[in-house]
Symmetry: C2
Subunit: 344 residues, 2 copies
């Protein structure tokens, strides 16, 4: 069983090439200073023996692993999957590897993972947090380790964690303005659960847009869904309809909720967008294929992952704590769920 044999090391190469290990090391890391003839001979031996330098030994020597730890809530989730892709791409581009950990949506696992990653001596940690409010931040207590951390999701000034995030207030504003621009005045909002930070933020953006437009807020037009599934959107829309308040448009917290909400509207005999216009949020793959296709706010998720990673790596390289918070803007993807409301 060939696996038991020890991998080729730098000494094997040195011996076979008749040079010292230092020369081999130089051929790998700084070939210019090695005499061309020597260099060539050594390189040939390296190829023949299929020598790959051990990152482990290098890391021990240099106390750098060129690895970042990525702690994520659940990377099968559309948001975190895309964030991870962005992070991995950016890390690779900069010569870093990514080590994965999923908290399985339990924030209390964060501490454990930070410790684990510290043990791995990762150069830094990217903490891709959920936007769900937690009674007590598991990282509030002084951390067991002193490693650069950049987080996504919550901004916690008391942690002095640097955070990169998406501007959900502006996203809510954007969606609402789009409906206002189409002449709507009675605009409802079907937002997410109250413990979702993003739900609160998007609601704030909605309120902001309305108040700027000089429209008085009607609390009857505000519903919170109880979860993130289409069914929750269905039920929330049912509730809105039961209130028998007049509205010609809705801003819905997410595409997933919108799918349920649309079903509820149809069941109530309301046509989309003729009777009710909808702007949703996320632009999941499916949003282009609902009936009608959803106009929706898209978040630059991959960019978020990439930017957070870039900031983290700069933090690692320079040792300078980055600006505490950086915000990324959403943009609108227009499709068929919004219709102009002719002035009456």
């Amino acid at each position: 069983m060939s696996r038991t044999k020890r991998p080729i090391n730098i000494r094997d190469v040195a011996r076979a090439a008749g040079v010292s290990t230092m020369t081999v090391s130089r051929v790998i890391n700084n070939p210019a200073v090695v005499a061309p003839l020597t260099r060539e001979r050594v390189q040939q031996v390296i190829d023949e023996l299929k020598y790959t330098p051990s990152s482990v030994a290098r890391s021990l020597r240099s106390s750098r692993t060129y690895t970042i730890g990525l702690i994520t809530v659940d990377f099968a989730d559309h948001f975190f999957a895309n964030l991870s892709v962005g992070a991995e791409l950016e890390a690779r581009r900069r010569g870093f590897r990514v080590m994965l950990s999923s908290t399985e949506r339990n924030p209390n696992n964060e501490r454990e993972f930070v410790t684990l990653l510290a043990e791995q001596r990762v150069d830094g940690i990217l903490l891709a947090r959920d936007a769900i409010q937690v009674p007590r931040d598991p990282l509030t207590d002084p951390l067991p380790v002193d490693v650069p951390i950049v987080s996504t999701g919550f901004f916690r000034p008391e942690l002095a964690l640097c955070s990169v995030d998406i501007d959900n207030v502006d996203g809510g504003r954007l969606a609402t303005d789009h409906l206002l621009d189409h002449g709507h005045r009675r605009i409802a909002i079907l937002t997410g659960p109250v413990d979702h930070k993003a739900a609160v933020d998007r609601l704030e953006g909605y309120q902001l847009a309305l108040s700027r437009a000089g429209i008085k807020l009607d609390p009857h037009l505000i519903v919170h869904a109880h979860g993130r599934q289409p069914d929750d959107g269905y039920m929330a829309m049912n509730e809105l309809i039961q209130r028998e308040v007049n509205f010609s448009a809705v801003f819905v917290y997410s595409d997933a909720l919108a799918i349920g909400a649309m079903r509820s509207l149809r069941r109530a005999g309301l046509r989309i967008p003729d009777d009710v216009s909808i702007v949703a949020y996320d632009n999941i793959d499916f949003a282009a294929f609902t009936d009608p296709p959803l106009t929706t706010v898209q978040q630059p998720i991959q960019e978020l992952g990439a930017l957070a990673t870039r900031i983290l790596i700069e933090y690692i390289e320079t040792g300078e704590r980055p600006v505490p918070i950086t915000i990324l803007r959403c943009f609108l993807v227009e499709r068929g769920s919004v219709k102009s409301r002719p002035p009456e």
Copy 2:
């Protein structure tokens, strides 16, 4: 800037506790063998100093990293995202870490990543391959490294890579049998692009089921989509309809294609499931919310990731090459897109 200071090492602890490094090491790895009093004192110092043993040094010493490399095509993709989740969970449960790499759907990157991971001295590699046929397997040439690899996707006997996969032939059989059980006899198939192994396999399953049921194959009932997007399904279904062959049911390669196919059917004035029954494949989140909700074949993707990881880790631990190929079965998720066809 506190980051520059060197992390606490075992010698710092030993000194502070007035013992040798070996005693500290034993407190960590084999506490039973240390005198209770000593143990307690050392443990206290460990806690005070927040000492975390360096995995890097351990790995150098033991030539084990307890890390597996995961090479994936694109882990924002539903399939690979779930596979990765399964892999990470299983790895963690067994005390392994996961290092991520994405080939961005370019199989030629595989070699590079294998080398990179070998440099990291990962204990093994999980190769989550795409099921797209490639003119030449980039790993066919002898690998530069001798590390346990388990793959998913293609089985390559010539590589002597062990492979874990999902039984797509049986999945196609399952879908078709379901339609047969509902009395359908004229069953079309809208399968994937010809270079997708899974598309070929599912077609084979379809043929198998029909032939077992004593139904003669009608090539006019077979269409290949040109891509994986809903639009490709739309166009493929248009083609099928244009052929003006009679059919009362379709087995569609994926939920994504089915979404487009349903649109095409509706446009042609065909009702689902009254005029045409559909069984699709994948059970993506959205499948429950189409109109009607899709009956679909679900693949045990997370289990696939977990099983492949388990096999890989066993390979690592025992050094024994696992059985070359292991197959996992799909199951049917019944919803509203299939209706019995009354015997005429």
